[in-house]
């Protein structure tokens, strides 16, 4: 008895083979003639298969967990010492950042500068990556139903790792900075120069459209410039690694080979420009500073002590400046 299978309708004659090959050619042409249809086919397939993709990723997660445990056990002491040194360094930087933030707030108030843009984050998880294909991208478990939109910036705990290029209902595709098609407007902070950050595949990403006469040194920080209004400015991208003539490469903060959790930055520009009179009279509550959120408990205790000292010390009365008649 001839075996039957679920695809029993397939024709193996040459005409049937030509039909399937013709269908593949139609798919190829569709990328140019109907690109949106191609994109929607991809996102629909991923949306439908996302539960299976998550299950298939279980062996990779287990392998990653085992690798992490072995690494932790072997590097425990060294990691502890490194973390202690980092905490001590960060405490110093936290105080400096707080002073700078206060000064920034005073200057903005002095200039009546009003930034009504809102940045919020959608935290999601990478469940699949493009594998061995030519496109370096990952699929995340958040889609339009969670508010994900095209061109959102993706970050890991260290910095920018990519941007959203396709959005389905429950999943989205993030193009990584290592892809050849990845482009991002950035600023080299110390040089105050804008450039385009471009992916280079296996090689380090580079900066394009930099003036030749500009002196760029290794170690200069590269951040997003916010041009285009699609994402906020100041997001960490990396540092200049090499700066030879015509070739400036960047050592990125974000890591595309070990990321698991990804944050997508949702950036909303103000919809209406308020009139100057309304701006001066309207009192807007100060947005909560990220430093306040991230403040370590030790520093909070110090602040409480300072406030307590202020309330305990008796107020000194200032000498009267009025002249006697």
């Amino acid at each position: 008895m001839r075996d039957r299978n679920l695809f029993s309708s397939t024709i193996t004659r040459p005409a049937g083979a030509m039909m399937w090959i013709g269908a593949a050619l139609v798919l190829l042409l569709m990328n140019f003639v109907f690109p949106k249809v191609s994109a929607s086919v991809r996102t629909t397939v991923i949306d439908l298969l996302s539960p299976l993709i998550r299950v298939a990723g279980t062996p990779a997660e287990m392998a990653q967990g085992l690798q992490g445990r072995f690494h932790d056990a072997a590097q425990l002491r060294a990691d502890n010492e490194a973390l202690r040194a980092e905490v001590a360094n960060l405490k110093t930087w936290a105080e400096a950042a707080r002073q700078l933030e206060d000064e920034n707030r005073r200057l903005k108030s002095f200039l009546r500068y009003k930034d009504e843009s809102v940045v919020s984050y959608i935290t999601t998880r990478a469940i699949a990556e493009s594998g061995g294909g030519f496109r370096n991208s990952v699929i995340v478990t958040a889609g339009s139903s969670e508010g994900v939109e095209r061109d959102m910036i993706a970050l890991d705990e260290n910095g920018v790792v990519g941007r959203v290029i396709e959005v389905g209902n429950w999943t989205a595709r993030v193009l990584l900075y290592s892809d050849l098609n990845f482009r991002l407007p950035v600023t080299v902070e110390e040089a105050n120069q804008r450039a385009i950050f471009a992916g280079q595949g296996r090689h380090d990403p580079k900066l394009m459209f930099m003036p030749q006469e500009l002196e760029v040194k290794p170690g200069m920080r590269v951040v997003t410039s916010g041009h285009g209004g699609l994402f906020p400015a100041g997001l960490p991208v990396g540092v200049v690694k090499e700066a030879s003539e015509g070739n400036i490469t960047v050592q990125t903060f974000g890591r595309v080979d070990t990321m698991e959790m990804i944050r997508l930055a949702r950036y909303q520009l103000p919809k209406e420009t308020p009139s100057p009179d309304a701006a001066s009279s309207e009192k807007t509550p100060d947005a909560e500073s990220p430093l306040q959120k991230a403040e370590p408990p030790v520093l909070k205790e110090k602040e409480k002590d300072k406030e307590k000292e202020k309330t305990d010390t008796p107020k000194k009365t200032e000498p009267s400046t009025q002249k006697a008649p």
Partner: protein
């Protein structure tokens, strides 16, 4: 009990395609090791080539189309690139399967190496054409090398599986 036999037959005959789909999904997993993708990437094509030569009724062209389309969609590439290369490989092997099935192991290994190289270069050419620039060839060559090295192991497992399916 006839319906049990039908279910058994359906499951057995769907196993090759299901195995191919499992490896497509495994290749998509976020492996931290860069070698993992180079190792997993050629396996679906090994499975396709083996079954098209030895048991073509278990791997029809519609399955080759579906697997190729799935890989295109999941990897984010241009739709049709992998699909077209898989269908072309399927057509060539299927049309000459009588000749290939009777070849000794070393010959079939060489044939598979040629098919893998041809499919890989076709994907690279099509993608480079669509991107309007020459893409990096090294990752593709690495996948081809791993695929050729893995063929004896994978074909051995598939041969064992074929014996089990034939017993039914």
């Amino acid at each position: 009990m006839e319906w049990l036999q039908k279910i058994d037959t359906a499951v057995r005959s769907s196993l090759p395609v299901a195995l191919c789909l499992v490896f497509v999904l495994l290749d998509m997993a976020p492996w931290t090791s860069p070698i993992a993708h180079a190792v997993l990437d050629p396996i679906p094509l090994i499975i396709l080539c083996y079954w098209v030569i030895h048991r073509p009724e278990f791997f029809p062209m519609s399955a080759s189309f579906g697997v190729g389309l799935l890989r295109d969609a999941l990897s984010g590439q241009f739709l049709g690139v992998i699909t077209f290369s898989y269908l072309l490989a399927d057509f060539i092997l299927r049309s000459q399967r009588t000749f290939f099935a009777n070849q000794p192991f070393l010959s079939s290994w060489m044939v598979y190496g040629l098919v893998l190289t041809g499919a890989g270069l076709l994907q690279w050419s099509l993608t480079s054409l669509m991107e309007h620039e020459f893409l990096d060839l090294v990752p593709m060559l690495l996948r081809i090398a791993f695929g050729v090295l893995l063929y004896p192991v994978i074909s051995g497992v598939l041969s064992w599986l074929q014996n089990i399916l034939s017993r039914g």
